[in-house]
Symmetry: D2
Subunit: 507 residues, 4 copies
């Protein structure tokens, strides 16, 4: 399952050149997708193997980000940091690395995979020596006023070490007039806007926090006497920790030797978690609200079968993201579920066909057709979403070439019409298929016999609501509805210089 909300990546054939363009000079500017990442966070307090357990937790969260990973621990004397490009298992499985990360407290971060050439100074956790001591932070989400705050801070003499939106938190903390770290931390997060699930580390505490409406997820677990914070429950499972509860929206939890203490620095508001965690991001075995995400996704397939049935011979998922909904669709419709498309799991992000001649052959590096299932059949293709539509179009074509008599596409979420600003890397509106075409236009573009999306209410029903409450929507769902739940300060500030750093540096 890819975590990037996009149906195109560098391994698909005709996007190779686009990637090459993006990889160019190796620097980051505002406007690049890469500044706004989907990520995973983990933290643990009070365990002798804090760093090793953090590595395991990050491994379980690897689907949330494959570009880079990092861990910071505190050992009673100093903070220890390791930040690397690539997968957790490639860097943090060796004993010598883990041994450098001594201590009973640790936090970690995984970052998502782009085609670009990112730099190590943007890899989290970020760290600062401030007057109260060392402070490290790992962030999942995106701040919508980070550029505005950055300009103000630089004007008054701050020097940034990265182009990450997260760094603003360190500067606000460092400049706070408060004495205690927790007070400084609250001071800082009161000034930021947008989506955040944060885990932070000092020499004596682990801090967790979610933004006022809880857009990005964060859960609390216990492992013996130790406390764990993680983006998803699957990271508790891998270390054998017991699920305690979610961190509430707008809550700050401070874990010290005296246990967990909860702060509520914001006015109480209803929670509005991001609906894409259910549709797309969370791992199928993670539990939200007592149900596994797999179960919810299957239910989306059930809803979809009810809303938009099709008279076909076989239900085929687009692997791997469409599998749970396809199973639900199959069970509800009684039409057999079959693996009509086989995915090559050895496709990394670097396989680029070297010769135009070859790419013109229509080479399929990632997906291939299972001819016995497809030939002569009427099929429903099930996927969880459509972003640009380029991959869906290619797969539909592959189905017809493999002998399908009819191809009906069913998407287990509504059309994506608006970009995200809260940590999901969506293309801008002009590249979002559903932002530029109506349903019939999309059907024609994709070249299928019929096309249907799950309704917005259908999503809410699959999760267990009766439907969307328009006065107080239960989810952050602006990608489908255009209703953004927070101010978008950076988007409105026309006068803001867009260049975050004048420095290009590799490595």
């Amino acid at each position: 399952m890819t975590q990037r909300l996009d149906d195109t990546d560098c391994t698909s054939d005709d996007d190779a050149s686009e990637c090459a363009k993006l990889q160019g000079p190796g620097y980051l500017r505002y406007g690049d997708d890469r500044l706004r990442e989907e990520c995973g966070v983990f933290g643990i307090f009070g365990h002798p193997d804090a760093a090793a357990l953090t590595a395991l937790g990050l491994h379980a969260l690897q689907h949330r980000g494959q570009e880079a990973c990092g861990i910071v621990s505190y050992d009673g004397q100093q903070f220890n940091s390791e930040r690397r490009m690539g997968l957790v298992g490639d860097h943090f499985s060796r004993a010598n690395v883990i041994e450098r990360l001594k201590g009973h407290i640790a936090i970690g971060h995984v970052r998502y995979s782009t085609c670009g050439d990112p730099v190590i100074r943007n890899v989290q956790p970020l760290f600062a020596d401030i007057s109260t001591g060392g402070f490290a932070v790992a962030h999942n989400g995106n701040l919508t006023n980070a550029v505005t705050l950055r300009q103000e801070l630089i004007s008054s003499g701050a020097i940034y070490q990265s182009t990450s939106d997260t760094e603003v938190i360190l500067h606000l903390l460092s400049r706070s007039k408060k004495n205690r770290v927790v007070e400084r931390f609250v001071d800082a997060i009161r000034q930021i806007e947008g989506a955040y699930a944060l885990v932070s580390l000092t020499n004596e505490m682990l801090i967790g926090a979610r933004d006022p409406i809880g857009i990005r997820p964060l859960v609390i677990g216990r492992l013996g006497s130790a406390y764990v914070l993680a983006s998803e429950t699957c990271a508790l499972d891998i270390v054998g920790a017991e699920f305690v509860r979610e961190v509430d929206n707008g809550e700050v939890v401070v874990i010290t030797e005296n246990g967990l203490e909860s702060h509520r620095p914001f006015p109480i508001r209803p929670a509005r978690p991001c609906v894409f965690e259910y549709i797309y991001f969370a791992r199928p075995d993670s539990v939200i609200g007592g149900r596994t995400v797999y179960d919810i996704r299957k239910q989306m397939g059930v809803q979809l079968a009810q809303e938009s049935p099709a008279d076909v011979d076989v239900i085929v998922p687009i692997p791997d993201s469409g599998v749970p909904a396809a199973i639900g669709f199959s069970q509800e419709s009684g039409v057999p579920f079959e693996l009509g498309i086989i995915r090559n799991h050895y496709v990394g992000r670097t396989f680029i066909a070297p010769e135009q001649r070859i790419r013109d052959l229509g080479v399929k590096l990632k997906h291939s057709a299972n001819a016995s299932i497809i030939r002569g059949k009427r099929i429903v293709l099930v996927d969880d979403s459509v972003v640009r539509g380029t991959t869906s179009k290619k797969i539909a074509k592959l189905m017809y070439e493999s002998g399908a008599r009819e191809v009906h596409m069913r998407i287990s979420s509504p059309p994506i019409t608006h970009p995200d600003y809260y940590g999901i890397d969506t293309p801008d509106s002009t590249s979002l298929l559903a932002a530029t075409m109506d349903l019939e236009g999309m059907r024609e573009f994709l070249g299928v016999d019929s096309l249907a999306f799950l309704s917005v209410d259908g999503i809410y029903r699959a999760v267990g609501f009766e439907g969307r409450d328009p006065r107080s929507p239960q989810f952050t769902d602006h990608c489908f509805t255009g209703e953004y739940p927070t101010p978008l300060t950076d988007q409105s500030g026309v006068a803001i210089p867009r260049q975050l750093s004048w420095l290009a540096e590799v490595g």
Copy 2:
């Protein structure tokens, strides 16, 4: 899908120490599993992008071997070789590598993944300068008299450059008294015994060959005016080549500028392809005998449901290998198919938990339970085979811990009671679960409520026969039956020194 016929690998927790042992000194001795590999081969004659297409073909065959890969091309002047440890996409996707592999003829090889520390001199294709010119060979299979021949050759002055069984072919060829290369090649393969699908390259021809009973697969394709040879049809599909036919058992095909010429240097015998290609090795979308392998595996699940039904609530595959049979089992039994186990695709072969303390927690790096599906249910677990049984046992335990009421294990192939000597890396008999226990013993060891394997005849029926013909079995199936189809010369020679090389060299 793992290609190694084993249910244990270095990523599972309690095998880490075993791997560490194997990795030791970095050399290969007879008796190590590593000398007898499952592999994939590819060759192409007559295309300006020969090496690039070979890289794509190897990528499609990557499931047959992830340890190492290599390509040799001939450009009219010289042979060009690149051999690397690791995946095809990691090494052969860069233009500068492909550009070094100039020419219109190329062959390639992928080798399977072990925990050991292999050496580049064993990576194929192997090459020799012989008096008729350069000669390269890539081999899938295993020769059962390679050690015996090696001893004879060394006694008469041959110097080996590798510890690969394949090298014997080069020496036999080089010492042949025949004048023409094809005659020398036939001279050589008449002296070898065992299983082989070979693709070879000279400065003017591409040669393909299968052993007299066709144990390992090899197919012929056409891409415009070019000829392609490959282990499976999925490698034809990726380059857009058209399937022509299989190379027959005992056939040698010689492809030159004048087209394809067929030789039959052996007495005609019935074919006996290895049954494990159907059960385990081939990619689901590859076609054998007009049907996709997925279809055949699903049918094994259907047979299994008929032979050994179970009164349960849900059918759960052990991912990814058990999925097709589980779908068949579900369709035949009418019990719902559900993904009750989630697999982490980011597990590489190097993730070893660093601390005993952590491994004792029972960390699950690779598989996790989908609790909503399992809790309170009676389940059938479907897998395609059981080798040592250690992973199956752990998964069964995970199911009970996740709340399963009953766990019934169904295996879509018969018990493996005998080791292989034809290119499949099986543990020796003492480690094969079914070689040491009866059915009830295995059930108890695995800790499940019931256990059933598909019958030997069931396998034959799933492929389309009425059953196994005991006078002339249609498959090489000795792992289930103990009937080896060829002499095992090296196994019988008690006097043979077991040390293939006295040299330990890294890199």
Copy 3:
């Protein structure tokens, strides 16, 4: 010629374990030698190959620092940075690196070689985005109030990206209330104390500056219409630039499209350049005051022969640092000059004998005796300085073992009795041989027949003065005299926390 003012390094046998200790955790704390480095700087304005010429200039300055190197250029759009551990020629000779460093302005830095494990964030040039735009700085020297300033800056919210003393300049600049960059720069350097030769880069200018008494060197050159700044004239020579003049002590030169403009922000004082540039650091072909450094060093040997003659058969330099003085000594005394000690130029800093057993054999990795020259002779050994004395002692022993009848040691500089705080990595007083023993004690420790140092006045005479002017010494010579020319603020502040960063990070 080693640039570190020490006669021990990691390649000499019995210091290996000391190095191992230093290499430990990979972080830097105040008190480690590594914070106070000898370095080289280079800058160029107005040439299309600015970065390539900077790489050449740094190569010529490589003797001033081998640990790390970096270049920052500005290309009209953005700043481009490459910073690496290791030698210039290993990193900046490849076209693809130089091509990334586009632009007509560039500055660069080389840093000296330690045994420790430094981190890339400390490699210069350092860069900051400040409100007036990007600003990069490269620094040779050491600030004596950097820790004090750092504490104040962190207390008011500054976040450091390195543990380098140089970074304080960026923060002072960023926080300055002045509008123009040059004013901010002057504002910043007025607050710092100690030794500095700085080259800085903005989007429109190259800035050079020397501290008020000009402890560290900086020269101006012209290459066609381009301006060059460099630590020594040898860096002008390599790029074919013409020497213009030295930057004066306390001068700030600002080079823009309009040419060079000079600022004098400090009260006028007499210059006091560091005497060690003459004795030790500068390359022999560099020119100071119209004479090559080789010539001056030879003259030190002449003075030494006059002050402390010896009745011997042969003059032997300790290579390579003792060669010029030995030639002078030989010419003045009429005793033949011979290479009695051969140096192995392939000794890198990593060759550590692996076994105690071997090290006990007294292995000589670096120096060996030329027996024909030594055997039966009375010799004078000439070196330029003695720091700890450990290497000198070993070489003297080697001479006796090779058959020398008498060994007389002559040092072409005075005894080093006080540590440096201006950019030279001296051990603390307890490790300085001359700080702990008198002349006879040292002679006994070194195990030689006689020992003599050049007098302080002798040094001044070799350079061309009549002697040292005690009321206004012409050089910074505190290592010999104890007279430090500036306040040592950080040394006096007993209350200052010594830990610069709590963060340990590798890479």
Copy 4:
């Protein structure tokens, strides 16, 4: 001191493009300089730290070859091999490498530095499993009938693993009909022609051998009860071994647990060691015939001053190779010796100026002028040899540009008029300056006021003879005289195919 008999290398400016050409495809063909290398060998029998001492010995012999190095040890069970591109200190100083090379017997090899892209399969020691067990060999020299023998061996079925001339020894040994290894070894070396100093290793012995006239050097040492073999005495010194004697020309020494046993398989002939060891290759502190090489080279300078005096102000060596002769010239003539040219020791072989524009500036990466010494002076430049003359020409020009009034070049060896075929990498005759011009032509080409070479008899006198004995010359001196001391079989065989391997492989 460079060991390649050439005055050009890749670091000099205008040869960069030539190197780029050579680096091209990464394969070796007959006719390339790279097949015929100058090298160093080392072996030790009977010491628990055999590999570590071999690494030290190779380090002392590093001047004989910087391209690659390797060590093979035998530990009682198996042979252990490590072969690497690059310097000994970069690869064999780490404990983990040495620990893999267990055992009490070891041999090693260093290979010289070219600009090309060599392959690991050519790095020595070469190893073969033959019927008597493992056998490893390291070779300094060059065989003049290796190509002829290779053709014969391949015709009868031998398969080569390298393109090294040395491998022929392994095949002859492997095919010998003798029973004992020593007999096979003698059998083999009786068939080879040319120059060789060999050290070989089996599971129970160390073998050393020199060709019938002893062209390449080999000495015997003792370290306690252990025996050592090495190319030069400096490798005995570094491990603390005592010099015993040279291996005689035509002698085979076999060292086992029973001590050293000497064989003389060839008719007795007078020795004719290569004169270039004295002039060029051996390290200055190595001892030949009781005198250090430094001493002999100084004497060449003395002879040269007597033969070709010059009325000048200063004697300037071309560093480092010209230093000893310049000291001798200075002492004999009474004219002062001065370092008028400074060499940059940080020039590796990879520094290539990236832009034609820059190279046109006449950048000097390696040598710079010491202006104080040169300006207004009449100088003698002393070097040990002239090959192509390109570097000498540049340095002469540099002297004039630095103000020299007169430049007189004095070469401390005779003109090189003939190429070598015994292990010295000379260019072919058309590139040898002295093969294409007379003395006046050369003077003009080099652009100097006068030019003189040492006479052939002068060389002999410097070593201690009265002159060359024309009936039985004491040295192999064909480069000066054209008298080759052995048949040159491969040179005469016009029918021999020149392509040693059709395989191009990188790495």
